[in-house]
Symmetry: C2
Subunit: 423 residues, 2 copies
């Protein structure tokens, strides 16, 4: 563990919020949609333009650039002792098809703003600093999601990621080559990619908690674990008219009951438990036909693995209870992410940064996945959340207030500086 420097009062407490906003708007113009959002899919021509804008800015700031084999970008500002592991920050710049201007982009540009603030103040850090742009966080075009950080952390192999194809049949390998970002540096930590000394990620909350509480900074102490399921209820399709109630095997009715149990199970695990049925498919989905089959998804999240195990068991119990002769219910788990605890010392630095900048703050757990969740498997990591309007993201109307975005970058500045040390 590096020694943590206590920043003196002479060190800058604030970034340049206007400059940060300007960069956000410049990047948002690449792939801008008529409704005010951004469509910049991973490894597309627009992603190339976004990446070149990032590298141009990073070079202006005096950084060296490293591109790895999965297309992750690392802009490095040398430290006084360049043998120390880098204190890093970053996020991603790919977006959803109808995405917003801030998701991901904010974390990357807040990193550049921290570097420029340090340049302006003439401060050299002891450890080097890096700003990371992780490839394909969104997973809209290629799965798995959080691809670049996942390869880095060893969640799946480089080869698995490079072989993924979009709906048109283009592979990640081909798309990386086409946009000129198939780098030479090793992508996986296991293959020799450098281990980070610390990783901070600033991000819009993507939820309503901070806005609801009127708080500016979320000190993210961890990320919820997730368990995703496909549930299939099989009954028997029949005509709505001629089939009396007593002779029906309506698949929708037990499905509807189970959908309600999903929420009831989550409500029994408050405040962290979350249960969502997001997708429902009814067959044959005709107005006057009794549904013969219903498929729906379940998304359970919780901060503690034992709570997720309880939720899993109760879902399966409820399914067994609702099944009966002629009604079969299958519950298949399709995804599992374990809960992540972020590094407590880094979270302290975030908390301290908020206090120092005079920004209200509260602890919060991330409900969504982020690159920081994978990086946390390899290095101390923490996140900084700022409010987004109405908690909405992955949407063209995604919005955030400039003063909140600046506040988050202030906190990032403090935390990185404290962690890297002043030379």
């Amino acid at each position: 563990m590096d020694r943590i420097a206590e920043p003196s009062l002479a060190l800058p407490a604030h970034v340049n919020g206007a400059r940060l906003w300007q960069r956000l708007m410049t990047l948002a113009a690449i792939g801008a949609t008529p409704r005010g959002g951004v469509c910049r899919l991973a490894l597309s021509e627009l992603d190339r333009q976004g990446r070149e804008q990032f590298t141009a800015w990073a070079r202006e700031l005096g950084c060296t650039l490293r591109v790895d084999a999965i297309g992750n970008l690392f802009a490095r500002r040398a430290g006084a002792d360049d043998t120390l592991p880098a204190v890093a920050t970053g996020s991603h710049i790919d977006t959803q098809p109808t995405g917003g201007r801030f998701d991901g982009n904010y974390g990357v540009l807040a990193g550049l703003e921290v570097l420029q603030t340090l340049n302006d103040a003439g401060i050299r850090t002891r450890a080097p600093l890096e700003v990371c742009v992780w490839t394909n966080e969104e997973g809209s075009r290629f799965v798995p999601v959080m691809m670049g950080s996942g390869v880095y952390a060893g969640a799946f192999t480089l080869e698995h990621a490079l072989s993924a194809r979009d709906t048109e049949g283009t592979s990640v390998r081909e798309a990386l080559a086409a946009i000129g970002f198939a780098g030479q540096a090793p992508a996986a930590l296991a293959d020799g990619a450098p281990r980070l000394g610390a990783y901070f990620e600033a991000h819009i909350e993507q939820g309503p908690v901070l806005e609801d509480a009127g708080v500016t900074i979320g000190v993210v102490t961890g990320a919820l674990g997730q368990r995703w399921y496909d549930v299939t209820v099989q009954g028997m399709e029949a005509h709505a008219g001629p089939t009396p109630m007593r002779l029906r095997r309506d698949a929708l009715q037990p499905a509807a009951a189970l959908m309600q149990r999903v929420v009831a199970i989550a409500l029994d695990e408050q405040p962290d438990g979350r249960g969502t049925v997001g997708q429902v498919s009814v067959f044959p989905n005709s107005r006057n036909v009794i549904p013969g089959r219903v498929r729906f998804t379940v998304d359970f999240r919780h901060a503690r693995a034992e709570a997720l195990a309880r939720m899993d068991a109760r879902l399966r119990e409820a399914a067994a209870e609702l099944a009966r002769p002629g009604i079969e219910i299958q519950v298949e788990q399709v995804v599992e992410y374990l809960p992540t605890a972020f590094d407590a010392q880094l979270a302290d630095l975030v908390r301290e940064g908020a206090r120092r900048g005079g920004h209200s703050h509260q602890d919060i757990v991330s409900g969504a996945g982020h690159d920081a969740v994978y990086v946390a498997r390899t290095a101390p990591a923490a996140m900084i959340f700022v409010p987004c309007k109405d908690g909405i993201s992955h949407n063209e109307i995604e919005d955030a207030r400039p003063e909140h975005l600046a506040a988050g970058a202030d906190v990032l500045l403090h935390a990185m500086l404290a962690r890297a040390g002043v030379a």
Copy 2:
């Protein structure tokens, strides 16, 4: 009311079941699907072939043919007193896109089999007999459904029906002309089409009641009234991860509760009440997004109008009860058919025919719409149901047993003969 003749023991009690089956299989070959069903959409080239097969058979039996302006066909066997209104039977020969061999076709061919049985026995009836083929009962290609009988009964105008277009933009008028069945005879009773003296329709049950009870003949005493609704639940779309349970406006949860109330309401109106949610659309229907909007359909059926009114009121009450700030629920009625009571004297003839033929029977109410429901607005009408396998129809695997089909035609023979009188 015509005098009803008491058929003497010398009159034929049975049709030729093998011949009926043979005609069913011959007609089913026109538009046969690989999976054993039939696809013969209304007013298609295959429908033309089916219609020409029918008219060829009818002419072989010595009938005269009438084609009206909506393409309904009437094969007429003269009576001793041809000024009497015809005692008619029939159904339709158009099918669903993945329809079966019996739905509709059986009622038409049972009618021809009755005429041939009378020919073979050398029996002349007092009133003329007619076998009707109603245009576009299924409504798969053109709406409204039950088009030919609906025009006849004045449920909607001839012009409305002729102007209906399929998804390719072809109108009923054009399709009738293209297949050569745009007839000259008036189609609507109000425009001078002849009033029928009675109308019987034999049909597979399309439900599981007779099979479940082990009974051969359903004496159909009426048809359920129907009320159809579109329900919209509006909440707020949000991310499944970052949005805590207490800050959600999940549209699916009240929707799921209301779907269960639909069934509960029907269960409180047994044995006739039916409540079905057949179609569900969730927006945006993504695994990790809390649904912002859910639309679903409600199909309520009951034999009594006052019960349907009660079901309607309770649905609206339930919707009001489940709405809350941030969750709006709209219930819109989109279709209403009043319950139909068939003619009691004709039902008696059906019952008597079953007894005479030695076939088990029970009273039953039709849950589905049939041409007979429209014709019943204009003349005494009744229906004869026979079991279909597993209650399944509108499906390529639709099936019925030859002995049941023959039994239904026996009953039709008796009922028509009794109604028309022997000369």
